[in-house]
């Protein structure tokens, strides 16, 4: 944890260094924290672990599928599983989440088929799932933009008397964009039922958080907007779950938005196209491996007696099976229909698009043998 300690120190000048709230020590020992209550007993918490196991397995498969050319590129969630599983499982069915390209594990945890979740990276669709059915906005690539969508969604919910809330995922780098600020400010002004979940994984591609923010304690932003904020251990799925759950409850009861900074670490390259050896020492990963979100949860569940070798094996087998299904589905995927290129630009095609569609259809017909 040298990294986090350094970051906290850096923050010292401008803000009393805040504790990082943790419910589960890296060792797997359960802690209590009055600032963060978790109502899940070990039995109920097991599904958090299961989702992380499955998420990590699919994530690993996605990296491999990229090497095999089935995906064009992929941004791994490795090391951040607790940040993606906890908040998602804290959502109510009707809530919406607003992910980025980093949140594939979050998207599949919400129930989206991995094939659909990965269409973006396969290059077969910009968004492979149905946002309305999944109650997930299409994963946003332009940094921080989705935070405003989440706030607008939440404002609409509040204005129409709905009790639905919105969950926005953001990276640490994203907090530098103007949109992140405007989102926090709109949320503060309108007391929008929106939870901002910032995964501070230490990096924005090659730029470390220390070069990204004048105060590396991102939770310190909350006060600027009159928004309650907390800083939690992002590798502790009990903490990510509990913090999000409490924030959603506050949102639903009219208490407005919450900013959660989850301190975690990006264990993989930025994407499969990135070469992190150019900008970071592999050694730092070791410290973070000691803080692995899955290992500590497994330890905790085993100690609590809700997990044994058999269950571990069966969950692992299920995860493998899902990964295999994903692989098969991609390998067996039907060819794409080029003419779909023209669909859904508008609610109805324009004359210009009709002409262009006809042109491509003609070209295709001329190519036929």
């Amino acid at each position: 944890m040298a990294d986090v300690a350094v970051r906290q120190e850096l923050a010292g000048g401008s803000l009393p260094a805040r504790d990082i709230l943790t419910l589960l020590a890296p060792s797997g020992v359960r802690r209590e924290d009055p600032a963060l209550e978790c109502d899940l007993d070990a039995g109920a918490a097991a599904r958090l672990w299961e989702a992380m196991v499955i998420g990590r397995r699919l994530d690993r498969a996605a990296v491999a599928l990229t090497r095999q050319g089935e995906l064009g590129v992929y941004a791994s969630s490795a090391g951040q599983e607790a940040c993606q599983v906890g908040p998602v499982l804290a959502l109510d069915a009707e809530d919406w989440m607003f992910p980025t390209y980093r949140e594939t594990v979050a998207v599949v945890t919400r129930g989206v088929d991995p094939v659909e979740a990965l269409a973006l990276y396969r290059g077969s669709a910009h968004c492979g799932f149905d946002p309305r059915a999944a109650r997930i906005a299409p994963s946003a690539t332009p940094i921080a933009t989705q935070a405003l969508h989440a706030v607008g969604f939440a404002m609409a919910a509040a204005r129409t008397g709905s009790s639905v809330a919105a969950l926005a995922f953001l990276g640490d780098g994203a907090t530098s964009e103007g949109d992140a600020h405007e989102a926090l400010n709109f949320a503060g002004v309108f007391r929008a039922p929106c939870v901002f979940f910032v995964q501070n994984n230490g990096w924005a591609i090659s730029v470390p958080i220390e070069h990204q923010a004048g105060n590396v304690v991102l939770a310190a932003r909350g006060a600027a907007y009159g928004i309650p904020a907390l800083r939690i251990d992002g590798n502790d799925v009990l903490a990510t779950y509990a913090a999000t759950r409490a924030a959603l409850a506050r949102a639903r009861s009219g208490g407005g938005p919450t900013l959660i900074e989850a301190v975690t670490y990006r264990m993989e390259a930025h994407t499969t196209a990135d070469d992190p050896s150019r900008y970071r020492e592999a050694a730092v990963l070791d410290a973070w491996r000691q803080r692995d979100p899955l290992a500590r949860m497994e330890r905790y569940l085993r100690d609590a007696g809700v997990l044994d070798d058999a269950r571990v094996a069966s969950v692992t087998a299920e995860a493998d099976e899902r990964a295999a299904r994903l692989r098969r589905a991609l390998q067996d995927a039907a060819p794409l229909d080029p003419l779909r290129l023209f669909d859904h630009v508008y609610s109805a095609p324009t004359p210009l698009l009709e002409r262009q569609r006809a042109q491509l259809a003609d070209e295709l017909s001329r190519m036929e043998p």
Partner: protein, 340 residues
């Protein structure tokens, strides 16, 4: 070219001068849309209590309550970004960006999301968002208040872009824009806000994507839109004295473009002048010229003439009378076309 334009009078909401002003027609369209569909919400900077700096949203907050019409913080990306989120929820936001020159901070949200989310989601998300932008010059204002950004939006696939030139079109097009499941950038020719037309609202419906022949003629077609339509009509009127019969087409919908009406007119007259306030290079008039060149090649007796703002940033107010295309300049272009 005319003398420098002086600072405009403030918009009148009275009816002393008879008829309906363009601003009043827009106000009525908003009110009627809000009354007809409670999913319609209106927000932006100063649109609530103040009723907008041009009073286009006057009375809406009072009538529909501040859940339906309200002031936002001063942040255009925030305005458009939250409107996108509201549309995902199921509302139909109509947001105002206070001036053309202040629409740019929202550009990323407009181009990267508003225009693309339907396509991105394979048609699963409707984006019924209207962005109202008072645009164009001629009101004697300071910099950034007189821009003509239409090309930025018209070139962006996924957006519809319309601009009315009359009060009755203003009403009809805004209603159509609000009813449309696609995002619409609604460009309001601000120097025409106070021009009046003897019309009873609601005016007849107008389909997005259609141009209108405003005046029929045999010798030359003038293509104009928004603030320059009255300029084109004035030139057409003056041309009568020269013995030229000028047809004026109000392009009205910049995206999609009604190529059919435009090409038909060009083929009829064989001579075309396009008019825009924006600078010439890569302006919307280039698209009009290109479409005419493609669709009426064999019919053209003269090259398409472009009458445009100059390729400078918009000048200080006391220069704008020399900057803005006026009827004389259009007439000069007509003369050039007729001389071929």
């Amino acid at each position: 070219m005319s003398a420098p334009v002086r600072l405009a009078e403030s918009p009148s909401t009275g009816t002393a001068r008879g008829g309906v002003s363009l601003a009043e027609a827009l106000n009525r369209a908003l009110a009627d849309a809000m009354a007809a569909d409670e999913r319609v919400v209106v927000y932006g900077e100063d649109v609530g209590k103040l009723g907008g700096v041009f009073r286009v949203t006057d009375g809406l907050a009072e009538r529909f309550g501040e859940q339906r019409c309200f002031d936002s913080p001063l942040a255009e990306s925030g305005i458009v970004g939250t409107a996108i989120g509201m549309a995902m929820f199921g509302l139909r936001p109509v947001v105002e960006l206070q001036f053309d020159g202040f629409s740019y901070p929202a550009f990323n949200q407009v181009v990267s999301h508003l225009a693309k989310l339907r396509y991105r989601s394979q048609g699963r998300l409707d984006l019924p968002v209207v962005i109202r932008i008072p645009y164009g010059g001629g009101i004697g204002s300071v910099e950034h208040h007189s821009e003509s950004p239409e090309v930025y939006y018209a070139h962006t696939a996924g957006l519809k872009v319309v601009t009315p030139s009359t009060p009755s079109d203003a009403y009809a097009l805004l209603r159509a824009a609000i009813d449309c499941p696609d995002p619409v950038v609604f460009l309001e020719p601000k120097r025409r806000y106070w021009e009046r037309e003897d019309v009873t609202l609601p005016s007849p419906a107008v389909a997005l994507g259609s141009a209108a022949v405003r005046r029929e003629g045999r010798d030359v077609t003038v293509l104009a839109y928004g603030p320059t339509v009255p300029v084109a009509l004035a030139a057409a009127e003056e041309a009568v004295g020269e013995g030229w019969s000028v047809e004026v087409v109000d392009v009205r919908s910049l995206s999609p473009l009604d190529e059919e009406t435009i090409v038909a007119s060009a083929r009829r007259t064989g001579r075309v002048v396009v008019v825009q306030e924006a600078p010439r290079l890569a302006g919307y008039g280039a698209e009009l010229a290109a479409v005419v060149g493609e669709g009426a090649f064999g019919w053209l007796e003269a090259p398409v003439q472009r009458v445009t703002g100059f390729d400078t940033p918009y000048p200080p107010a006391r220069f704008e009378g020399w900057y803005l295309p006026d009827a004389d300049r259009v007439l000069d272009a007509i003369a050039v076309a007729m001389a071929y």
